[in-house]
Amino acid sequence: MLRTAAGASAAGLVAGGALAAALPAAAAARPERSGQSAERPAHSATTTPDAGSAAGPLVIHVRDARTGEMDIFAGTTRTRLRDPALAARLVRASQ
């Protein structure tokens, strides 16, 4: 799955185990995890049920390839990180 948003150079990538190798580098890029209220876009209502499912795909949404800002969705969590090198690799892989 690949999306490119006009002007923002945003890409989203569904990944399984293949992305695992890239994640250690990403983890160094100050990730912020949210599932409840740690990180909310301005005024949005995000909620996490008690019975959240950890199963399911790992999804990366490259919000801005230029700055490397991306969200990683896994289970009922979203982790935001900034890693321009990883973002660039993902964009290259999608082309």
């Binding site: 209502a45 995000t46 008690d50 019975a51 949404h61 896994a74 979203r78």
Partner: protein, 461 residues
């Protein structure tokens, strides 16, 4: 409608579309409140082969604010899962469904209820069965009894029901959105000079013979307020109620496997407190955004309540009928009466023996003063009709919220905050011309109060 298909995005997502919220002191169990959130608008009873059901991928919630800050102090969460007995038949049922565990019932739905308070989640029930939809006399014989068996008792004196019900909300939607040509007054509508109508006609109930899916809870009042006070002046007696539906951030359609999967936290896509707020007051360009927001931030929408577009339109559409309202709208004065009714609750001292004020935070919540006893002879106009147990003190299933809000917007309630204002005579008469008599299926006298759903074999009739 109340909130049926009220915003562009949610109108395309019926299973997550909240349609009505009710909150009232249970008339047959007055130590409890009943909270009902309806979803899935405009269900045709003959919905086969895929009869209506809740979304397995949707988180449904009913929130209760007990301290007036527009944030939930107690939340009840509902999550559903569908189980197929036989994936190799196209049929919802392969014979009569006489019980909730009938082997003839192929597509069944179950749910969990979780209470969240103070950051602690407490499972109240799991594997709770929904009733089937009302299909017809052969498939779902003795439907009322069958559905009643899906009322579950949970710990703490809580009752719950989740499943199909007859739509109890009544509205002449055709007249309202044909440029507010309300049928009881259509001959007075002269804005466009067409003069099509020369006499009044009865209202037409748009939701007639349609069903919804209800999530209904009955909870001891003390479990919400921490008090069993029956003093209506006690601020602790007032609760604010709203519902939300949320979806996961990411939905993946796996074409190779022919399956769907989801990822990420839940994100709110639908919200409902007071009826008609997002429907009638919030402009089209803000409706989707409004649905994603919690009530605590409703100050950013307050101008649409204080200066409702409809209040300015009525005098223009009905020339000479609303002269005082025209003057009020032209003055630019904020409608503090509507702000009180919809965003803060009505303070003590404005209506004798009544308050449902929650403080200065502007938040669209259905506010219920739980200390006010159920009315012995309810008036469908609620507080406007002198019945303090009805809307906007919470909302009962039969309350005529369309007429109440039309009259309020038309200026009938403005004297609450400006005693010198004299409402137009029409403000006390405006209505869409419907009453509970226009709902064919009767409301129930006990939980879950909304009527037995219309069956698919005989409806539409």
């Amino acid at each position: 409608m109340s909130s049926h298909r009220e915003a562009p995005e949610i109108s395309k997502d019926p299973v997550a579309d909240s349609t009505d919220v009710y909150a009232f002191v249970s008339p047959d169990r007055p130590s409890t409140v009943t909270l009902i959130a309806n979803y899935i608008p405009l269900e045709e009873p003959a919905g086969g082969p895929n009869f209506y059901e809740f979304g397995d991928d949707v988180l449904y919630e009913i929130h209760v604010d007990t301290d007036g800050d527009g944030q939930a102090d107690v939340t009840y969460q509902f999550q559903f899962s569908t189980a197929l007995r036989d994936p190799d038949t196209f049929l919802y049922n392969t014979g009569p469904i006489r019980s909730l565990n009938s082997p003839n019932w192929n597509s069944r739905q179950f749910y969990t209820v979780t209470r969240v308070a103070g950051g602690i989640s407490q499972p109240l029930g799991t594997g709770l069965a929904c009733p089937p939809c009302n299909i017809g006399p052969l498939s779902t014989p003795r439907y009322a009894t069958l559905a009643a068996s899906a009322v579950h008792s949970l710990p703490g004196g809580v009752k719950v029901f989740a499943g199909q019900r007859a739509e109890g909300f009544y509205v002449d939607l055709g007249s309202i959105f044909d440029l507010a040509t309300l049928r009881p007054f259509q001959q007075l509508h002269a804005k466009y000079g067409m003069h099509i109508f020369n006499r009044p006609e009865p209202g037409v109930n748009t939701t007639n013979e349609l069903n919804v899916h209800s999530i209904a809870l009955q909870v001891p009042i003390a479990a919400l307020t921490g008090s069993s006070s029956r003093d209506e002046s006690d601020p602790r007696a007032v609760i604010g109620v709203w519902t939300t539906a949320s979806r996961r951030h990411v939905h993946i359609l796996d074409a190779d496997q022919g399956t769907s999967s989801w990822s990420g936290p839940f994100r709110q896509v639908s919200r409902l407190g007071n009826p008609l707020v997002n429907e009638v007051l919030i402009p089209l360009g803000k409706k989707d955004f409004w649905n994603t927001q919690p009530p605590m931030y409703d100050e950013m929408f307050a101008s649409y309540v204080a200066h409702p577009e409809l209040a300015a339109l009525l005098p223009a559409l009905y020339p000479g009928v609303f002269p005082h309202l025209a003057g009020l709208a032209k003055s630019g004065k904020p409608r503090a009466d509507l702000e009180a009714i919809l965003l803060t609750g009505i303070p003590a001292g404005l209506i004798k023996g009544f308050q449902n004020h929650t403080g200065p935070v502007l938040a669209d919540m259905l506010r219920l003063n739980t200390a006010i006893k159920p009315a012995r002879k309810p008036n469908i106009l609620g507080v406007l009709g002198g019945d303090l147990a009805g809307f906007p003190n919470g909302r009962r299933v039969f309350d005529d919220v369309v007429t109440i809000e039309l009259r309020a917007i038309a200026g009938l309630t403005y004297p609450l905050v400006a005693a010198a204002y004299k409402p137009d005579a029409a403000a006390g008469a405006i209505t869409d011309g419907l009453t509970p008599e226009d709902v064919k299926k009767p409301y129930l006298r006990s939980f879950p109060y909304l009527g037995v759903p219309y069956g698919g074999y005989y409806n539409p009739s």
